[in-house]
Amino acid sequence: MDKLAEQLKRDAEMIDVKVSDDLERRIAASLQGLSPEREAPRQRPAVFWWASSLTGVTAALLLITVFNVRTEREELPQATRDTSPVATVVSPIIEWNAQSAMLTSPLRQELDDLQSDIDKARRKVRDDIGL
């Protein structure tokens, strides 16, 4: 052991500490009503995480499917009855293919958000059970 290590050891021992009777009593009293908690089974959370993940993904896919089916069934909007020259020029420009592709975007976002929520919940559960 070198000089510095020796001095650190010696100086630590010079810190004169006594645990008072009062503190000993406090600790004993606070432990009296307690008992060690049983360790939580580790397999169940894993199954739960998988089940919740699958449920979330299935729900998101179902939503996407329902939305797409509905979109296909919707009729094209009636041509505007406005007789102004501007309206007549603008209405033929609408492209349905491009529009329907854009409408699925929020659902993709929703799916990503759901997945992100599941990941957050998983991390929280891990933090909660870990000491």
Binding site: K9, A12, D16, V19, I27, A28, L31, L34, P36
Partner: protein, 182 residues
């Protein structure tokens, strides 16, 4: 106490023996309180942190992994509790320059030379101080210190080396000052 005796006490405490845990408390309370004094802003805070540490240790005893040393696990809990209490009180240890308010200084037997741990607390960061304490006051291995602080072994090695350099430099400054003013 031998490791095997400690292991017997831990197993008995896990089975619900409060007497066995009381023996463990007696075994570690002074060492932990001494360490907590260096981490807390007052003696009362250190006592509270010690009490909270034993309560948490007993409550979560079944999650203790016997691959670790029991002391490593206890110190890990103690470090968290001290940090929590300091965060609640919003007192920085660096602010304790006044000897009357510093619980560590109050507990040091009077000596001509300054206690190195007081210097260490002044020149080292929180975690590096804890690592240094666990290494030199508790003789813990690098691996145990890394586990107690939840850091990598390389972080621990590097920072212990830096701590030594910083303390050496501080010691040299002190001795130079003593030569000039002595």
């Amino acid at each position: 106490m031998r490791q095997s005796d400690e292991h017997i006490l831990i197993e008995a405490a896990k089975a619900g023996s409060s007497d066995a845990f009381a023996d463990l408390v007696r075994l570690y309370q002074v060492r932990l309180l001494r360490f907590l004094l260096t981490r807390c802003a007052s003696f009362a805070d250190a006592e509270d942190a010690l009490q909270d540490t034993f309560i948490a240790a007993y409550r979560y005893l079944n999650s203790y992994d016997p691959r670790w040393r029991f002391s490593t696990w206890l110190y890990r809990i103690a470090i968290r509790n001290a940090h929590k209490i300091r965060r609640e009180n919003v007192v920085e240890l660096g602010d304790l320059s006044d000897e009357e308010s510093d619980p560590l200084v109050q507990c040091i037997a009077s000596s001509e030379a300054e206690n190195l741990w007081v210097s260490a607390r002044r020149v080292l960061g929180d975690e590096v101080f804890a690592a240094t304490w666990l290494r030199y006051a508790e003789d813990m291995s690098i691996k145990d210190i890394s586990q107690a602080l939840d850091r990598s072994t390389s972080w621990t090695k590097v920072n212990l080396l830096r701590a030594r350099k910083a303390l050496d430099a501080d010691l040299n400054r002190q001795s130079e000052g003593a030569e000039v003013y002595g």
